[in-house]
């Protein structure tokens, strides 16, 4: 028997086929059931609540309120303005930076890439808190420096972070890495021949860039801008920290405020639906834009692109890159370090203000720290392991078309991408605070939320890894008599090793940063680190926040590094993009 050219599994004898069908049908049903419980159930309840009033009668009243009450319409507009601005800024910043890193001989290119990864590990709400320490109009460290340098009076500020512009800036800081990675990866893979041809025909560097590189990269750039838009649309932590003191709500903070006592879940559900709808529409647009084009690995026929020589502009380019990276990384981390070891957050560390009191308080006095750390790591490892296995199973089934109905699985596995974190939190809350499955108050509901949120990205990563593993190897194993499971374990598994580790790390990091779903679903027994930090922020304990944030980031980095070492060598982690936070 020879394998068919299009890679389909060879036809088996009827006895074997019966055996195949016997175990594959239950597996399909089991996986679909799991996905249904995780996704369809919460979204179903969300719809039910959105279209019902307090007594349970069907009504459109919630939507009428939503679109006529200014306390809802204003946040909607604010959210749209923020998202569009963030998308534009990220595009404008990430594109040149990506081009510099991928296409020129700028020094420190590798360092810049690593630093961009580091800013992905930083949760956006931690960044927002750090920027508060830097740019609060009166007590912010940057403003204090500026005043002492320029001699301006005490109530003048260089930057006021408690404004719409301030919020847009902070969100853009932690969203631009997504766009950067997309653009840099695309430019990495672009064939160099077209640019070579252009320069051979006499075009100068800038002309080539403008007329060849940019049009080729444009779809990717637009897709990246869409991702940035979606990120900004669905972010909860940063607006909660910066918008509310400034006196305005975004849609996500408004949804959350509807959960404060007395809770109005109908209005919260109704407010969540526009977010959901907009996200779905934009994702379809993104898919259409990338469509047939995109990242097909182009094989060995094309040569590596030739790096453009910057000449005298090498150092300024590197300086520019580092300046950009100062915004999400150097400045905020410096502020966190300062606050962690300073008596009062608004004072620079000096001999009289240096103190270890915050560290002592966080670890020896704050009774919520250890439980939160335990919960977080337990949930992160469980979600990474279980979610990774689920994603692996689904990716295998879809890539090998092992079961009829695999397209449904593929759809369900990527569906959560369209659900903003806080919307998922609301849906899960509505679904699981009622019998028979009252999971509210346990770690299980958080586990479900985290796995659901991270599943699409994990599935996409493993899916593309599967595409790189040719079925011939598995078919050889099958022909020699191994079952599917054995083949998966002995042949496919080891080949996927580094992709599996990368996926595990990605889920792990994503869970630790997750706030918008956790803030709706936690109880005092099931607090996680992100919620603890958010709680501390509401009572103004910035010292403890700084210590916890630094610990969170350090531990995350440690785990990722360890996992990569276990996986054997560095692998360029092609991070798929997911709306998180």
């Amino acid at each position: 028997m020879s394998s068919t050219a299009d890679g389909k599994v060879p036809r088996l004898a009827r006895a074997d086929r019966r055996r195949l069908l016997d175990f594959s049908r239950p597996v399909l049903i089991a996986v679909v059931a799991v996905l249904a419980v995780m996704i369809v159930l919460p979204m179903g309840w969300l719809m039910v609540y959105a279209f019902a009033d307090k007594e349970g009668h069907a009504t459109f009243a919630n939507f009428v309120t939503l679109f006529t009450d200014p306390s809802f319409v204003d946040p909607l507009f604010a959210t749209l303005i923020i998202s569009v601005s963030v998308a534009v800024i990220c595009g404008l910043v990430a594109a040149p930076l990506g081009w510099l890193v991928a296409r020129t001989d700028m020094p420190l290119a590798r360092t810049v890439r690593t630093l961009v990864m580091a800013s992905l590990v930083t949760p956006p709400f931690v960044g927002a808190i750090a920027w508060e320490m830097l740019a609060a109009p009166n007590s912010g460290l940057l403003n204090q420096l500026w005043r002492s340098l320029t001699g301006m009076p005490a109530d003048e500020a260089l930057i006021d972070i408690y404004t719409l512009e301030g919020l847009i800036f902070v969100i853009a800081c932690y969203t631009f890495p997504y766009v950067f990675i997309l653009v840099a990866n695309a430019l990495d893979r672009m064939p160099g021949e077209l640019e070579d041809a252009s320069s051979m025909l006499g075009a100068r560097t800038w002309q080539t860039a403008r007329r060849i590189t940019v049009p080729l990269a444009l779809p990717t750039l637009l897709a990246g801008a869409l991702v940035a838009f979606l990120q900004a649309l669905n972010l909860f932590g940063s607006p909660a920290i910066l918008a509310i003191p400034a006196g305005f709500h975004t849609l996500t903070t408004k949804i959350w405020s509807l959960f404060q006592f007395p809770p109005k879940p109908e209005l919260a559900a109704a407010a969540a639906l526009p977010l959901l709808a907009l996200t779905v529409v934009l994702l379809r647009a993104q898919a259409a834009m990338l469509g047939r084009r995109g990242y097909a690995v182009l094989g060995g026929k094309y040569g590596a692109p030739r790096l453009i020589r910057l000449g005298g502009l090498r150092l300024p380019a590197a300086a520019l890159a580092l300046l950009v990276l100062a915004m999400p990384l150097f400045l905020p981390y410096a502020a966190l370090l300062n606050t962690a070891f300073s008596r009062v957050a608004s004072q620079f560390i000096g001999p009289e203000t240096f103190t270890l009191r915050n560290v002592v308080f966080t670890f020896w006095e704050l009774s919520a720290t250890m439980p939160a750390l335990k919960n977080t790591f337990l949930l992160a490892t469980s979600a990474a392991t279980l979610g990774g296995l689920l994603a692996l199973l689904i990716a295998y089934i879809v890539a090998r078309r092992a079961i009829r109905g695999h397209r449904v699985l593929a759809f369900l596995a990527t569906a959560p991408l369209a659900i903003p974190g806080i919307v998922l939190g609301v849906g899960l809350f509505l679904a699981y605070t009622r019998p028979p499955l009252t999971l509210y108050g346990t770690l299980w509901i958080l586990l479900i939320a985290f796995i659901t949120i991270q599943l699409p990205a994990a599935y996409q990563q493993l899916g593309s890894a599967f595409h790189a593993v040719h079925p011939e190897l598995e078919e050889a194993g099958r022909m020699l008599g191994a079952t599917r499971l054995r083949t998966l374990m002995d042949i496919t598994g080891p080949l996927l090793g580094s992709a599996a580790i990368a996926t595990w790390c990605f889920i792990f990091v994503g869970v630790i940063r997750e706030l918008s779903a956790a803030v709706i679903l936690f109880t005092s027994d099931t607090k996680v680190l992100s919620v603890l930090i958010f709680d501390l922020k509401e009572s103004g304990e910035v010292g403890a926040i700084a210590v916890l944030s630094l610990v969170m980031i350090a531990l995350t980095t440690l785990v990722v590094w360890a996992a990569n070492r276990l996986g054997g060598g560095r692998d360029a982690v092609r991070l798929q993009l997911r709306v998180a936070g």
């Binding site: 009166n138 006196g247 405020s257 006095e365 919520a368 439980p371 009252t438 009572s539 103004g540």
Partner: protein, 355 residues
């Protein structure tokens, strides 16, 4: 024409009849017996091994109280769950509705919560000896369901590095002056019980018109009543319109540049009662902690000397360096009114301040 018998009218009538006390609830039979802290209670508490305390007092102080309790009764671990009183209220409501029982002892800076919980049957009656003997009638529930664990005020404050004492505002009316535009920080009644209580008192005595004008002052809106003192000490804003008195004194004692002002119209009075929950998972540990926290020793050393709170316990003296309670003009506290009007107050506030 018969008047409709609304809940509001009944309560108004009851309030008019009862003496000027904070706690107006229907008396159900005789109050329970006063209980001592016995060796059996301590042993039973140690067997249970832990107690969970929901409170809204400032976090470092709450943790210190917890550690002191653990030191006094080794073997009983204390878990502090600190958030704003309104948040805790929501959480307890949500937890009990989902049949999740975590909280053993609850303390709230919004006395109305205790009234609502008592009506809903969420509290267990328990009357420690100290409360029976040394607490005035207005500071405890006649049925023994709760008692004031702490008393504090909600004054105005300012940063002494940014303002001289003559320049500082002296009254709530002063805060409406345009020179304070963008210079005020204030906390939120949707999060903080202290601020909810203060908002009801100020809206009653100064009217909502005052809030309307304050909303135009580009106030920095924070959540917890513990935050304005910190923000003022940091220099982020020059003036706080509300905030907890005890934190002001605590920061002053640490050398931070903050000073209080007791407004000429009167300062809102905040009692923070505590109670044992009816479905406490550790009932003996709960009672032990509750009773111990009301003793003269605990109140004096922790609440007053360490925390700069004030106490309802008659044997406890005011902290040196703090203005004597009797010398301060306070506003009248009406927890029963807050119990009824909390939602309206919140809604009105959000409408004015937009968040």
């Amino acid at each position: 024409m018969t008047k409709k018998l609304t809940r509001r009218r009944v309560l108004a009538a009851t309030a008019a009849v009862t003496a000027a006390g904070s706690f107006v609830t229907p008396v159900r039979g005789a109050p329970p017996e006063a209980q001592k802290i016995t060796a059996e209670l301590i042993a039973a508490a140690k067997k249970e091994g832990k107690v969970t305390w929901y409170t809204s007092v400032d976090l470092p102080l709450a943790e210190k109280v917890g550690k002191a309790f653990e030191a006094k009764f080794p073997g009983v671990g204390m878990k502090v769950e600190r958030s704003g009183a309104e948040r805790n209220f929501q959480r307890i409501g949500q937890e009990y509705a989902s049949k999740i029982y975590i909280c053993d002892v609850v303390n709230s800076s919004d006395a109305a919560h205790l009234i609502v919980w008592k009506r809903a049957g969420l509290l267990a009656p328990y009357l420690p000896e100290d409360v029976a003997r040394h607490f005035p009638e207005t500071q405890k529930d006649p049925d023994g369901m709760y008692a004031s664990w702490r008393v504090t005020l909600c004054p105005i404050g300012y940063n002494t590095k940014l303002l001289k004492p003559e320049e500082a505002p002296k009254s709530y009316a002063d805060l409406l002056d345009s020179k304070w535009l963008g210079k005020i920080v204030k906390a939120h009644p949707g999060y903080s019980g202290t601020i909810m209580t203060a908002t009801q008192q100020l809206s009653r005595d100064l009217g909502w018109a005052w809030f309307e004008k304050l909303a135009k002052q580009k106030v920095m809106q924070v959540q917890s009543a513990a935050e304005p003192p910190k923000k003022v000490a940091q220099g982020e804003r020059a003036v706080m319109a509300d905030g907890t008195e005890y934190l002001d004194y605590e920061l002053k004692a640490r050398g931070e540049p903050i000073e209080l002002v007791y407004a000429s119209e009167g300062t809102p009075l905040i009692t923070g009662p505590s109670a044992v929950m009816v479905r406490a998972p550790n009932p003996n540990a709960a009672r032990l902690f509750y009773a111990w926290s009301m003793t003269a020793e605990a109140q004096q050393q922790l609440n007053v000397d360490l925390g700069a709170l004030r106490s309802a316990h008659r044997q406890v003296k005011d902290r040196a360096g703090m203005r004597k309670f009797a010398d301060i003009k306070t506003l009248r506290e009406e927890a029963n009114v807050v119990a009824d009007e909390a939602d309206e107050i919140k809604a009105r506030y959000v409408k004015l301040f937009k968040v």
